[in-house]
């Protein structure tokens, strides 16, 4: 394989526009394989398990979870933060990388955005079902009512309500606006009348007119401009759930940047996990190349290192602050009863990504895949460590307590994994996983053929 000394091609195999369309539309047009059926049945059953557990929780009460008077949040909010974090990669890739004109984003932004939406959906479930009275969840919206009551605008949890719902809606808009031209492509390719009708509806009557393209480009750019601070704000606000509180280990000013970095870190890891499988199964190796994987790995090292530095800063500041409660909280994280969670977090999030400094490993698919799963686990434990170990031993030792999750909580988590993969599997059957039109724009500049010509 030829490798350019200057820049590696992002699309391989001398693709014409028509071939690109055909390759990317192939998974939608063909019959799903055995793997897909296995995947969907597995994730559907996981989803139904989760739904049953959620029903049980709502019926019986939060007592079915392992929480107690000291530890009011456990797996539920850990999962919430974890999913929100995962939901950061998509918009980050499409918005921030768009602003930076990174061409390699074009092959991955579509699936990453879809992943964002599904992850945020999963995340949004947790604040809802972790409530003691989920049936009254509508109280969090400031709607006019006969009680003359409004909500508490001081509460970070309310900010969350606004941040998460805004993020979900804006991400949806962004994703769908990007999809319109590709749905147009699908509309023009499918043969069956019903499919043509549905794609026709969903394509919003896309014609490809130059005026539309002009506005569309502008819209994407400005939406990206809006979404970029939004991405940063969402996890900052999620971190404010903790940072604005007074619990030692939560009350930390470093949280917003640290959470955002962590979110992008985990989001990229999840994108890698999914794409490494997807490119193989859907035969998209020419579009999602090692160059893409390597670029993403580079971001992983960067964000992983930020996270690592944040961990160390936290430790340092807690010691330096001289506040006994802070000092104890961090000592207890590392050496208390939950030391193992801290150890997992440190190994997976700080130590393991450092291996990516080696180019060989950065370009090794198996290694990257395993690492991405490690990072997902590590980032889950980061949230667990922050939430549970801070709460379980706070100010008054008399209330110190331990937390052990129940099967119900585990079941709900598995259920959201099921929901996520179900959505993703349906997505790859319904819409192009790669932004066709956007790939076409870069094929000239970053395609294999062109670069060859240049170097020749």
């Amino acid at each position: 394989m030829y490798v350019s000394p200057i820049r590696e091609p992002l699309i391989k195999g001398n693709k014409t526009y028509s071939q690109i369309t055909k390759d990317i539309a192939a998974p939608i047009e063909g019959k799903p394989g055995k793997a897909w059926y296995m995947g969907i049945s597995l994730s559907l059953s996981a989803m139904f398990l989760g739904l049953a557990m959620m029903g049980w929780t709502i019926w019986e009460g939060i007592g079915t979870w392992g929480l107690n008077r000291t530890i009011g949040w456990g797996w539920g909010i850990t999962n919430f933060v974890w999913w929100v974090g995962i939901g950061h990669a998509g918009t980050f890739i499409s918005a921030i990388l768009l602003l930076f004109r990174q061409k390699w984003r074009t092959s991955i932004n579509r699936s990453a955005e879809a992943m964002t939406i599904f992850a945020v959906l999963c995340a949004g479930l947790f604040p809802l079902i972790h409530m003691g009275r989920p049936l009254l969840a509508f109280f969090v919206f400031p709607y006019p009512n006969t009680r003359d009551l409004w909500v508490n605008f001081n509460s970070p949890l309310l900010w969350d309500v606004f941040a998460i719902s805004t993020y979900l809606l804006v991400s949806l808009l962004f994703w769908y606006m990007g999809l319109i031209p590709d749905i147009g492509t699908m509309r023009d390719r499918v043969k069956s009348k019903a499919k043509k009708f549905i794609y026709g509806l969903l394509s919003f009557g896309w014609t490809g007119s130059v005026k539309h393209w002009q506005r569309h480009e502008k819209l994407s750019l400005i939406l990206a401009g809006l979404a970029a601070p939004l991405v940063l704000s969402v996890h900052s606000i999620v971190s404010a759930d903790f940072a604005t509180s007074i619990i030692p280990g939560w009350h930390t000013t470093i949280f917003p940047p640290y959470f955002v970095a962590g979110a992008i870190f985990s989001g990229f890891a999840m994108v890698l996990t999914l794409l490494i499988v997807t490119r193989k199964v859907l035969n998209l190796e020419n579009y999602i190349t090692l160059a893409h994987i390597e670029s993403m790995n580079k971001i992983i090292i960067a964000t992983g290192s930020i996270v690592g530095i944040a961990y160390l800063t936290e430790l340092f500041i807690s010691w330096y602050s001289g506040v006994e409660y802070e000092q104890y909280a961090f000592l207890n994280r590392a050496a208390g009863p939950y030391w193992w969670a801290y150890a997992i977090m440190m190994t997976c999030n700080v130590i393991s990504p450092q291996l990516l400094w080696f180019r060989k490993l950065r370009r090794n698919l198996v290694f990257t895949f395993i690492l991405s799963i490690f990072i997902n686990i590590g980032m889950w434990f980061e949230r667990f460590v922050i939430i549970v170990t801070s709460l379980h031993r706070d100010y008054l030792p008399s209330s110190w307590s331990m937390y052990k999750p129940t099967l119900v909580e585990v079941g709900i988590f598995v259920g959201t994994l099921g929901l996520f993969f179900t959505c993703f599997l349906l997505f790859i059957r319904a819409f192009p996983v790669i932004a066709i039109a956007e790939v076409k724009t870069v094929v000239k500049s970053s395609g294999e053929k062109e670069i060859k010509n240049e170097t020749l």
């Binding site: 009512n145 006969t146 009680r147 003359d148």
Partner: protein, 376 residues
């Protein structure tokens, strides 16, 4: 919508507990059962005036409603009579219907002559009313159907707007859409706000007690009966012995004759309390004290309960929502001159008042909007 709320659980109830409907005791005496049924039917016909009687008098039903009704009818309803008389002997029945002693009754029932058989039929009919209750009234065309119809209209309008395009002018389906959707939202929000509210609730009471007769015509003070209103959180519904203070002498009413008043005596004799239907209900989580409002705050009863003294049937006039409470707290001024508690406790506000920096201190200013004033 509230009907929908009711409908679904009822369906569920039927589905889940249907076996319990089957445990009616199996008929043991077929013949007597049959006779009784026949007699009941005859009685019903007589009562409803479907049979020709010897006299040309009005049928029973023209004066005695079958069940309670929402308009005031001083005459006891059939259901009511059934509860008082069904167990009595036919001879008692005879004397009441054919030869009443009370003044009102004897005028109205003048000329009624039913024979014993007919009386038996009527009595059996009443008996069956007592045990089975009156027929369920069919629900009127309710909001649900209207709501669904509007939904249909919206769907059609949208389909035409985007796909079929049969209507030439686009604004027509758009107009239809907005009008229908708007009306749906209005229905939803009104019903949602009405949940748990009972504005205009005026149920029939076990005794046709008229506040108009007592408070306006006979000029009895509210506090004569509602004794707790000044000191307790509860205004107190008078106990039967309070009624008897007068009604041990006043045995016959102007409108209802002896029938209603007799219920008080019956209650005392049978040692069975009178089960009034509660009208002004606040949820369990609301603490309301009459003493605070009536005694300390010097509010008139009518401000919350409406012109009760003009009502034959008591009706809830206000919606008793939290917004309504707060509205009053916002508007009502606190009388600092009258009560030393206020002037001694709210010194800053008192000073302002004295210096005439404000014209009045409202309930809200002294914490009348704070949650734990009512919720704890």
């Amino acid at each position: 919508m509230s009907k929908l709320c009711l409908f679904i659980p009822i369906v569920f109830l039927l589905l889940t507990t249907s076996p319990s409907f089957c445990n009616n005791p199996a008929p043991q005496h077929k013949d007597t059962e049959h006779n009784f049924l026949e007699s009941t039917k005859q009685g019903e016909r007589i009562f409803k005036g479907l049979v020709l009687t010897k006299s040309n008098l009005k049928s029973c039903v023209s004066c005695h409603n079958l069940t309670y009704s929402d308009t005031l009818n001083w005459n006891p309803s059939a259901w009511d009579i059934a509860h008082s008389f069904a167990d009595k002997k036919t001879s008692d029945f005879n004397s009441v219907i054919n030869e009443p002693l009370a003044k009102v009754m004897s005028q109205v029932h003048d000329g009624y002559q039913y024979n014993e058989e007919e009386l038996n039929h009527i009595k059996n009919y009443l008996l069956s009313l007592k045990t089975h209750g009156a027929e369920e009234q069919k629900p009127v065309v309710n909001n649900l159907i209207l709501f669904l119809f509007l939904g249909l209209l919206i769907t059609i309008a949208l389909i035409d707007l985007f796909f079929t395009k049969k209507i030439k002018y686009k604004f027509i389906p758009i107009l239809i859409f907005f009008a229908a959707f708007g009306y749906q939202i209005k229905m939803l929000s009104e019903d949602a706000m009405a949940l748990g509210r009972n504005e205009n609730y005026a149920p029939d009471q076990p005794i046709k007690f008229s506040h108009k007769v007592h408070a306006t015509d006979n000029k009895i003070d509210c506090r004569y009966c509602h004794t707790g209103v000044d000191n307790s959180k509860s205004a107190v519904i008078p106990s039967a012995n309070v009624c008897l203070n007068c009604h041990s002498i006043v045995r016959e009413g102007r409108n209802s004759g002896k029938f209603e008043i007799n219920k008080i005596h019956a209650a005392v004799e049978n040692n069975k309390p009178i089960e009034w239907v509660r009208i002004h209900k606040l949820p369990d989580h609301v603490f309301f004290s009459h003493a605070q409002h009536v005694n300390v705050g010097k509010r008139e009863c009518q401000e919350c309960h409406g012109e009760v003294e003009q009502m034959h049937i008591v009706k809830q006039v206000e919606d008793l929502s939290m917004g309504w409470c707060l509205d009053c707290h916002d508007k009502t001024a606190v009388d600092f001159n009258y009560n030393n508690y206020y002037s001694n406790t709210f010194k800053e506000l008192h000073l302002k008042l004295v210096k005439e920096q404000t014209d009045s201190v409202r309930v809200t200013d002294i914490g009348g909007r704070e949650c734990a004033r009512c919720h704890y």
